[in-house]
Amino acid sequence: MTEPTTDHVTLHLASVLPSVEAVEQTAESFAQKAGFDEDDIGHIALVCREAAVNAVVHGNKYDPGKEVTADFDLTDDALSVRIGDQGSGFNPNEIPDPLAEENLLRTHGRGVFLMRAIMDEVHFRQLTPGTEITLKKHRTTREADK
């Protein structure tokens, strides 16, 4: 894994599945640069990937003419990843709880839940049109020292 030489990068990606891998790999290298431990790096990369899947699949519905933006920002305090799409939006308050008894056997609906479980902060913002999700994980003093 090559670590990025900058602390900030903004990507404008096509709405195709390989973009999701690119987001994951970029998140992994930023998380590594941030000094998170191996488990955290894997989890952070996974949920950034989940957010990118949602942007490509639910948001832009695979239209290669619509962009997915991915913004990675590493500060002394935290790693923030922002994923935007140009889809028709949705209401994040209406996402069913995947831990509820009646949802436990559903084959979908665990992506946003995983993001919330793994990151310290998850915010949604409505774009016109589209959705922007911000995923943030704080560095501990130990990590920021690296």
Binding site: L17, V20, D39, G42, H43, L46, R49, E50, V53, V57, P98, L99, L104, L105, R106, T107, H108, R110, G111, F113, L114, A117, I118
Partner: protein
């Protein structure tokens, strides 16, 4: 994802390898399970030892497979989870759904 099929003491073992993710082998597990069920298998052990990576779609694949087998009157168990996959099953409470084991011999023996 790659699936290899073995038969051990009346149990059908599916050895999965690769990734189970959005876009990689979606539906593959389900169809391997359906095949095993139509061939008469009721005891199915899914070996994730070779699986490096599962995302939320992959978790969905596993759950969907579990339901398919259960609805057909069979039993599906999981073997050899990596730490990363196990973490995800804990977070999503799916560890309360699946029967998971780390040792093939005892997993095979555990089928009634």
């Amino acid at each position: 994802m790659d699936i290899k099929i073995r038969h051990v003491e009346g149990v059908t073992v599916l050895d999965l390898s690769g990734k189970i993710t959005m876009g990689e082998g979606s539906g593959q597990l389900r169809s391997a399970l359906t095949d095993a069920l139509s061939a008469g298998s009721k005891k199915i052990l899914v070996n994730l030892g070779g699986v490096s990576y599962v995302d939320s779609s992959g978790l969905g694949e596993l759950v969907g497979g579990y339901t398919t087998v259960k609805n057909a009157g069979g039993e599906m168990k999981l073997l050899n989870l990596s730490k990363k996959v196990k973490d995800l099953l804990v977070i999503t409470k799916l560890l309360t759904v699946f029967d998971v084991s780390e040792d093939e011999a005892s997993a095979i023996a555990s089928f009634s």
